[in-house]
Symmetry: C2
Subunit: 96 residues, 2 copies
């Protein structure tokens, strides 16, 4: 299933900048970055729960905001991209 | 239906900063801001098409990136928020 992860991490402090890097790095281990603070992860339920828990331990819940959107399995028609940097089709053929 | 709008607008130039303001303003006229460049819009199909066309005329398609995610009508279980600034439930009771 496709899960979208979006976040706002306060970068006013060094600690915030560090959290931002860790959140991005964690999301990259589950999916692809499609915009600055937007990731698309093609994962199953257990990976989804792990991702939530792992990100929860990284952020400062008083300052930072994390949102997860579950688009389910049939998502290709639910996503539209306009403009620069289109993302890779996670389920498309890998051409080597 | 709930449509998520996410965007990356290049702010290196004055023109980019202006586009960023216009994109945010346009999204606000259709829904609520839940994170810096993430909006949730509870709209029908014709509003969705209008929103896409109007945003397309604002952005620079070579530099900026716009993504739309259609979460359909039954979305309450598809969205999880962790941390600061939870959004308003667009379909919840309005307490005055």
């Amino acid at each position: 299933m496709l899960v979208l992860v979006t976040y706002d991490v306060s970068t006013e402090t060094m600690a915030g900048k560090k959290r931002l890097r860790h959140v991005a790095k964690k999301c990259l281990s589950y999916g692809q970055r499609v915009q600055n603070s937007v990731f698309e992860c093609n994962i199953d339920w257990s990976q989804y729960l792990n991702l939530q828990n792992e990100l929860k331990t990284i952020i400062n819940t008083k300052e930072d905001s994390l949102r997860f959107y579950n688009l389910g399995n049939n998502y290709s028609e639910k996503v539209i991209h306009i403009g620069a940097k289109p993302s890779i089709d996670l389920e498309g053929d890998l051409i080597i």
